[in-house]
């Protein structure tokens, strides 16, 4: 379930710590950040996961990079073999 989108913090409000403006591909939205506030203060350029106007989670660049690394290693050798065998993933 649930449409939640990654957005980057572009503005914070020192006098309103429960709010932040996030941006997704040039679209900005003010969201409530009460659920992601902890000992580590939020900073502009942090990435948050947004759902119905609330930030649900901070996005971890480290985990994302690690995941990309794992994905890059998947099936490399086999992909080459598959293409030779004629699996036509490139058909559009």
């Amino acid at each position: 379930m649930c449409l939640a989108i990654p957005g980057k913090i572009v503005e914070l409000f020192p006098d309103q710590p429960h709010l932040a403006v996030i941006e997704v591909s040039g679209v900005r939205r003010k969201v409530n950040v009460d659920l992601v506030r902890d000992e580590v203060p939020l900073a502009v350029s942090d990435w948050l996961l947004i759902h119905v106007g609330f930030a649900m989670s901070r996005i971890s660049a480290e985990y994302a990079d690690e995941q990309m690394r794992l994905l890059t290693m998947l099936g490399e050798a086999d992909q080459a073999i598959s293409e030779l065998e004629g699996y036509e993933f490139d058909q559009t």
């Binding site: 379930m1 649930c2 939640a4 990654p6 759902h51 106007g53 989670s57 971890s60 998947l74 993933f89």
Partner: protein
Amino acid sequence: MKYVDEFRDAQLIRQAAAEIRKLARPDKHFRLMEVCGGHTHAIYRFALADLLPGNIELVHGPGCPVCVLPMGRVDDGLSLASDPKVILTVFGDMMRVPGRTGTPLEHKARGADIRMVYSPLDALKLARENPDREVVFFAIGFETTAPSTALTLRQARALGLRNFSVFCNHVTIIPAIRAILDSPGMRIDAFIGPGHVSTVIGCRPYEFITTRYGKPLVTSGFEPLDVLQSIVMILRQLDSGIARVENQYARVVPWEGNIPALKALAEVFELRPYFEWRGLGFISQSALRLNDEYSEWDAEKRFHVPGVRVTDPKAAQCGEVLKGVLKPHQCKLFGRECTPEKPVGALMVSSEGACAAFHNYAVRTGATTAASTGS
């Protein structure tokens, strides 16, 4: 779009698909259930089944909060809108869900003040701007959305806002999964676990599935690479005969869940002793209502709701599709009496309902499906 585009990389997708083909031993047949409606939607929108070998069958689970809402609760919500003082606020997903006398959109066309909101905070804002009206928020959703409702109620209380209330239909995911596991004749090998619900509840609540039922569960993101990677992780577990909870969506899902969110839930809600789920019947301790501290903002206490039970039309097989016993196109009404334009059941209305997703996205040649949705 960062954190989106890289997980839709065509080359990496092909590689992941190749890995899946390698891992899915041709002599075996795998039945994997994706619990979340969001995953069902992603699978169809990105046509992921086209990339899977024929012996991997994706079974759609009940994690669609609009789909599992009984028609009677829709009617209850609509009855609130018949009070001229009330502004009923609903999410876009709810606008076309049929009640007995029409959908919220149809009721709106007949003059009911029903407005679409994008956040419960919009409803709160409406209440502040319209002090002479009663604003009711039709809350739906699993644990992903419930904390938002909770925080909104906290604000309402802090503001002393008297003209705002919530008609609460939040449900919890674990009892639904347990109901699937306990269904007789149910054969699921592993679960593609909820992604965004898990940002709130974490991964621990799923451990009983692995220990007591011996099925792997991988909490998964929603981009194509997320789902494919989760399937890789599942297949590896099945191959080694282990059953564990793994977190594929670690960039967003904390193992222990979101503490502020869980605290907010505990502060505002309590579990209903039981709640009716479309297709699954009455399940105990599976839904939320406002607790005594917040009873003043409970629409069911402030207003009278009819509370009538409405059974689905006999011919509609929503329940079986919800449990994954039937595929959408196997329901007798699918594509004929029941279409996204004239839906009989909510699975055809909600964009993440299995039937709507199938109807809208799946390429059908004759009566069969493309690739491996297990027709």
